[in-house]
């Protein structure tokens, strides 16, 4: 049976991309699969009675070591902010390449808590910071110090003890460039180091509450129960800074989406489905339906999506109960879901299908990186007619957008001088549009197309470039999209109707985040590693932890 990949014009719409869920291809899960046979150890806990000081965790095998150095500092309540404009945090982290010396730790102590204002070196791989969820942290410490376990209702409503507010890597603030580590076998998947940092930071949060509870009352304190700890992840609060990444890295975005689409296609192509496989699917479906109740959000946008998801899942179960295991069962099931449910439900089912076939899906996680340099150059020997055809075939959706209409050019993206992070503003009421970042892809390709249409189609692109270099940045993308069709978001990223949270959700779903909780249309809180094995039990992981019941 001929079953094609889903078309880019279907997949690459933001309302669908913004409905993606974590899956077997998510980076935190592939991190655990890759590193489960490494040794994880707590090397040093140097904290005072209030929990201030530093800790070191090491991940190693016979030939390689990585260390997470964590710093815990006092923070007044009025200084605690998740906004990226904050300058102080409860905790800060740096992933070190190897084992840090005493001198390294002193140097890092002077710099890492400062984050963007400090400097790190090429010995360091990733940088991050986190704030306590004060209410949960205090409750847990208070209960443990009294010899009691915390109230899981309070815990699971939040889902974590600390939340990170940024994770930096790849050369930022003096960190090692990606080129330093890109050939290491264990780092072949995207964001492996960032995932390592977050996994180890989660362990730090558990050690922290145990330490402070003990210091508060050494005689009565108990340790946080492993079953409770396992159901806590680490939070993350993310704003617009993350959104341009998926526009600025088209080749990489293609790899992520293409791998996911290949997984779905391979599953839909399976002619036979066994009862056992269907049973596995059923069990994941049941668990996810129960876990959705822990997906708390005050966002009207997400509440609406979650309500639709719950309703769609009810309809889906009715459909499922009436079906029998006919040939190409998964394909029929998928087509029903695509036809009858919203993207939020449809993409959840895609993720669930992947759970049934680890052997088909997991190898694809090694196809999710790419050498972007290979796609940087422009083939100037191509004709103008060729380029117009490429635009018509791959960017047809933008040709008819009227970019003279105010709503279609309402926003502009810029780089904040204060925090060196991308931001978005109203072009017509705020200053700075002259410093707009090159993220208005739809508008610029539209304008390029109009220009090219006035040229001789047989003329070489090189001739056009002799006269104008204004759209060189999007010409590059047109060639990328020719080879890598899932490289472009097929929506106008400067339109008034843009929901930037969809862009964040796309990236975060590939990270493996759950419990998306938009706090506005521009920032979101999520949870990572909730339900994941603890550091001491990582070797036992069978990669089914994402669909364990939370409580």
């Amino acid at each position: 049976m001929q079953i094609d990949l889903r078309k880019p014009e279907f997949v690459m719409k933001l309302n669908r991309l913004g409905s993606f869920h974590q899956s077997k291809l998510s980076f935190l899960r592939s991190f655990i699969r890759e590193f489960k046979d490494w040794d994880f150890e707590t090397k040093e806990i140097s904290l005072d009675e209030m929990g201030f000081g530093h800790c070191v965790y090491v991940v190693k095998n016979a030939s390689k070591q990585y260390s997470l150095v964590c710093f815990s500092n006092h923070l007044d309540d009025n200084e605690r902010s998740d906004r990226v404009i904050a300058t102080k945090w409860d905790a800060s982290f740096v992933l070190f390449d190897g084992i840090p010396s005493t001198e390294d730790i002193q140097r890092l102590k002077d710099n890492v808590p400062l984050q963007e204002q400090g400097r790190v070196t090429e010995k360091e791989l990733c940088l991050s910071r986190a704030n306590k969820s004060v209410r949960v942290f205090e409750h847990v410490v208070d209960q443990l110090s009294q010899g009691k376990q915390p109230d899981t209702k309070i815990l699971y409503d939040v889902g974590y003890l600390y939340r990170t507010t940024a994770v930096y890597g790849s050369g930022k603030f003096g960190l090692a460039d990606r080129i330093k580590v890109q050939d290491r076998e264990e780092l072949k998947g995207p964001f492996r180091l960032e995932m390592m940092l977050v996994f180890l930071a989660r362990q730090f949060t558990f050690d922290m509450v145990n330490h402070v509870a003990y210091q508060r009352s050494p005689k009565s304190a108990v340790m946080l129960d492993d079953n409770i700890a396992r159901n806590l992840g680490i939070g993350n609060s993310t704003g617009l800074g993350m959104a341009p990444f998926i526009v600025n890295h088209p080749a990489l975005l293609n790899q992520w989406i293409h791998s996911r689409e290949k997984a779905l296609q391979a599953i839909r192509k399976l002619p036979e489905v066994t009862k056992d496989e269907l049973e596995i699917f059923h069990s994941y479906l049941l668990t996810i339906q129960e876990n959705i109740q822990f997906w708390k959000t005050d966002s009207e946008y997400q509440i609406k999506k979650n309500t639709e998801l719950s309703e769609d899942l009810i309809q889906f179960k009715k459909y499922l109960s009436k079906t029998s295991l006919e040939k190409f069962f998964w394909n029929s099931l998928y087509l029903w879901v695509e036809e009858n449910t919203q993207p939020e439900c449809c993409e959840l089912i895609v993720s669930l299908l992947m759970e049934v076939y680890p052997d088909l899906v997991e190898p694809l996680s090694y196809e999710m990186s790419i050498d972007e340099e290979d796609y940087f150059d422009i083939d100037t020997s191509r004709t103008i007619g060729d380029i117009c055809n490429l635009i018509e075939n791959n960017y047809g959706w933008l040709i008819d957008i009227n970019f003279e209409t105010k709503d279609n050019i309402y926003n502009f993206w810029y780089y904040s001088k204060n925090k060196q992070e991308p931001r978005m503003s109203d072009r017509f009421n705020e200053e700075g549009a002259e410093l707009e970042l090159p993220l208005a892809i739809a508008r610029d390709i539209n304008l390029l197309y109009k220009q090219l249409k006035n040229h001789d189609p047989m003329e070489h692109l090189s001739k056009y470039l002799q006269k104008s270099q204004e759209y060189r940045h999007v010409l590059r993308r047109i060639f990328i999209c020719e080879k890598l069709p899932y490289s472009e978001i097929q929506d106008n990223t400067i339109s008034r109707s843009l929901i930037p949270v969809d862009m964040l959700r796309l990236k975060l779903s590939f990270f493996g985040a759950t419990r998306f909780d938009p706090r506005s249309d521009r920032w979101v809180r999520i949870t990572m590693y909730q339900g994941a094995p603890l550091m001491k039990e990582i070797s036992l992981s069978d990669d089914t932890w994402s669909y364990k019941k939370i409580a």
């Binding site: 460039d177 080129i179 100037t380 090189s462 060189r472």
Partner: protein
């Protein structure tokens, strides 16, 4: 020291700040990154360029005009990166001066490899040849802020770099790895039958 990422993004933004397009800015960031990664002073070169002042640099490259002055190396390099597929056989251009010639090198390397051509750059201050091969050499300690009286040759004809004596000697030595064949082997060694008329 700063990471290559920081260098690339900073150069990209500064290039944009000079009024160039984002596409050119991306190229500029990339070439300075390549130079720094190759332990060549690309960032210093770039800094001098924008303080020329940059507005005085000639950005329009026109090969029909001989002896253009104070050419911008980014535009010069980009020109040859974009246009090199047009060149056939031998081309020679005379240029009065180019600012910061170091910055043109990564562009020319890409153009040479992509189009299998050779660039020969001769000037009062610095000479270098860039070929489709991987090796480029010049005096790192003698990188001038400006190159004057330039003769710039482009060729798609590979030049022989050795004598016939050297070739003959080496070729004869290479034959020593071959096996002398008997008459019988000549008949059977290639796998053919005694008669091929079947």
């Amino acid at each position: 020291m700063h990471s290559l990422y920081e260098i690339e993004t900073t150069v990209k933004r500064v290039t944009k700040h000079q009024g160039l397009s984002w596409g050119i800015a991306e190229e500029a960031g990339k070439i300075v990154r390549i130079l720094e990664q190759s332990e060549l002073p690309g960032l210093e070169s770039f800094n001098r360029l924008i303080n020329t002042p940059y507005s005085e640099c000639t950005k329009s490259i026109d090969l029909q005009i001989n002896n253009q002055k104070q050419l911008c190396p980014i535009h010069f390099g980009l020109f040859f990166l974009d246009q090199s597929h047009h060149f056939e056989n031998q081309n020679q251009f005379h240029i009065n001066s180019i600012q910061e010639p170091l910055l043109i090198i990564p562009f020319l390397i890409k153009a040479a490899q992509k189009n299998l051509i050779t660039f020969n750059f001769s000037s009062n201050e610095i000479n270098f040849t860039i070929t489709p091969g991987k090796v480029v050499s010049f005096d790192k300690k003698n990188i001038p802020p400006q190159a004057n009286n330039i003769i710039f040759d482009i060729s798609n004809q590979r030049q022989k770099q050795y004598s016939d004596e050297t070739w003959n000697y080496l070729y004869q030595l290479s034959l020593e790895t071959f096996v002398e064949e008997s008459e019988e082997k000549k008949l059977s060694g290639a796998g053919a039958g005694l008669t091929d008329n079947d």
